[in-house]
């Protein structure tokens, strides 16, 4: 699971640039801050490497295990 | 275990008495840099602090010294530095920081011949205005002026007490004369010495929810290492430690509350010694020039001439009211300073023309006035 906090995102693009699996892409939308946030385009390819989390300077992206619902 | 307080009667050098006063006041951290005529204070602290469980640090320069003192104070430790004019010049930025962050600490200036390198071992009362206005910006400061080794001991304790109570740096404005002279110093029993400790917040208090600064009634100090999650900054801030550098209202509040905190307690800080009776002429002095006044009065009394004495024990905040009242009672005020006139301007302003104010320096700067010259001047003024 990948969640993006658009209130904190500053649209720097580091998460997109350093994702080894091209799971993210900069969107065309604009947030309240006036920047383009990333969007998840291939969630199933995410390998939970944490690169996006580690490189986001604003703690705006969180990656975690999918919650399994029985 | 060595005694913390060396109670008893001593024949002691002023600088050493100052160091002993600090230790008696509970000072347990000293950071400094060697400089004539203050080095003896550092040397005494280097020897005594480890004996009483404290720490001495010789820093790479005076800027580092005052920085280390402020850092130590923020762990709850009473801290002091001692230097002379050139060192104060270097320290001024961080003294402003101590004022802005409301950090208790004591700064001793054993004044010497200046400007610049000047004459390290001669006294001059040249840094009096520097203590008041040397750092940039709008602030109040507290300064005390000892006139004897005994007062080097007593007033250093008072300086610590004022700094703890008001969470502010306090200056001791000594000079090479009182720093290096030796005289009787009576050190009381430890239990007879009254000490003041800074207020702390109660444990568990949330930093965002109580005033930790900018309170006219002195906010509790959220020292480090207690889980207070303190945010201390020299940037303009609000009472909750939040840096606020975009709006003028924040600057206005920051300046006024820091200044009002000292002004509100003027009555407790100000200390003057007044002996006027019905003299029409009064000699105003502070620090070592008081010793001249004492001797001049003694000689005048032998001739049946009564001249008053008004001594400033505390220099800052300036005792405006007290001087105004004095000016109403007398006709002539002679101000004795070992400089070209620093406090005299404030005396004149406070006197508001109620009495004539005359400045009297020594014939040669860097020495004390010749008492006979003062006697002659008084007689001349009386007419």
């Amino acid at each position: 699971m990948i969640e993006i906090n658009e209130d904190l995102c500053k649209g720097c693009g580091l998460c997109v640039a350093f994702c080894p699996k091209d799971v993210l892409k900069m969107s065309n939308r604009l947030t309240k801050k006036g920047v383009h946030p990333p969007e998840v385009i291939k969630e199933e390819d995410c390998i939970l490497c944490d690169n996006c989390m580690i490189y986001c300077p604003d703690l705006a992206i969180v990656v975690g295990e999918e919650e399994k619902i029985d | 275990m060595t005694k913390r307080v060396l109670s008893g009667l001593h024949f002691m050098q002023g600088n050493v008495a100052c160091a002993e006063g600090a230790i008696a006041a509970g000072c347990r951290f000293f950071a400094g840099y060697p400089i004539t005529p203050a080095s003896e204070i550092a040397e005494r602290m280097a020897r005594r602090l480890p004996e009483v469980g404290g720490t001495y640090a010789q820093m790479e320069d005076e800027i580092g010294s005052i920085a280390a003192v402020v850092g130590a104070s923020w762990t709850g430790t009473k801290a002091m530095t001692a230097t002379s004019g050139p060192g104060i010049s270097l320290m001024l930025e961080n003294i402003g920081y101590a004022i802005a962050t409301e950090t208790p600490c004591v700064i001793v200036n054993v004044q010497r011949g200046a400007p610049s390198t000047g004459t390290p071992s001669l006294p001059l009362q040249g840094d009096v205005i520097q203590a008041r206005r040397g750092s940039h910006g709008e602030y109040e400061i507290i300064a005390l002026a000892p006139s004897s080794p005994q007062e080097m001991f007593d007033l250093t304790i008072k300086a610590f007490n004022l700094s703890e109570k008001l969470r502010t740096p306090v200056f001791i404005l000594a000079d090479a004369f009182v720093g290096h002279m030796r005289e009787e110093v009576m050190i009381p029993e430890e239990d007879k010495i009254n000490l003041v400790e800074r207020k702390l917040p109660s444990s568990g208090m949330n930093f965002n929810e109580y005033k930790s600064s900018l309170d006219e009634d002195v906010a509790p100090m959220p020292i480090f290492g207690k889980g207070f999650k303190s945010h201390v900054t020299g940037s303009t801030h609000n009472s909750y430690g939040k840096r606020k550098v975009a709006d003028p209202e924040a600057l206005d509040y920051y300046i006024k509350s820091l200044n009002n905190k000292i002004r509100k307690y003027k009555k407790e800080i100000i200390s003057v010694e007044s002996d006027i009776k019905d003299s029409e002429v009064v000699l105003v002095s502070y620090g070592t020039t008081y010793r001249v006044v004492r001797e001049a009065r003694r000689r005048l009394e032998e001739e049946g001439i009564n001249v008053g004495s008004f001594r400033l024990v505390s220099l800052w905040p300036f005792p405006d009211e007290e001087v105004e009242n004095l000016a109403r009672k007398v006709k002539k005020i002679l101000v004795l300073e070992n400089n070209l006139g620093q406090m005299v301007s404030y005396v004149k302003a406070a006197a508001k023309g109620e009495a004539e104010v005359v400045f009297l320096p020594p014939r040669i700067l860097g020495t004390l006035h010749d008492p006979d010259t003062v006697v002659r001047k008084v007689k001349e003024v009386i007419g």
């Binding site: 969640e3 500053k10 350093f18 920047v35 | 720490t55 790479e60 850092g71 130590a72 290492g225």
Partner: protein, 272 residues
Amino acid sequence: MKMVHPLIKYVRPGYLSTTTCSGCGNGIVAQSVLRAIDELKMNIDDFVFVSGIGCAAWIPSPFFNADVLHTTHGRPIAFATGVKLSSPELKVMVISGDGDLVAIGGNHFIHAARRNIDLTVICVNNGIYGMTGGQVAPTTPFGLKTTTTPYGNAERPFDLCKLGEAAGAVYVARWTTYHARQLTKSVKKAIQKKGFCFIEVVSQCPVQFGRRTGAGDAVAMMQGYKNNSVNIKKIGKLKEEELEGKIVVGEFVDREGPELCEEIAKMRERIG
């Protein structure tokens, strides 16, 4: 389901949204430090963070929910010395910029290293004075045009790690923001090692450095770090000319020495 970033618990409530520029390396350094403390399972209340003036100094101030001392320009190491000497049981960490720590603060830096006082000093090196608008710094590459070197920088830059080593630091490492994981590892080591531990982090300033000098945006600068860095363990194989323009990263020094607080404690015992 709302996931919470694992490091939020270390951020001062109400201060999560920071003032840093988009893509600034500061946030990456902040995360790396907090992650180190988290992985060591240490209590952040046992730390005191000290910083000076400049953008990097805003990493702990006010962002970290801990005791933070934001001091005057160049002086955090001197303030930190006072904190540590008077309360040696506290872990004291200095986080500040290159201009702050080695230009105006140079004297305090070399003496603290010489004394080997137990501090962790993280120098965020962006090669410029960012906060004031992009003036040349003692770490700016030779020849670079900045706002105060409009015709090109005529001065050579410091090698901060060599400086720290020469002054006596017992641990010296350099990473870039690209090496965030290795940075966390070094911070953990430095926190646990007694003595003066110095970590330089080459970090992107996309606005005052990147945009002005043509180095590019945050992505371009970090890709530059990735492509131009070489680990110290591997440079034996490279010739002098091949190192031109390269950022050498890794651990340069890891040695022992008498630590100041310990020496003072021993002295106290000696005098009884």
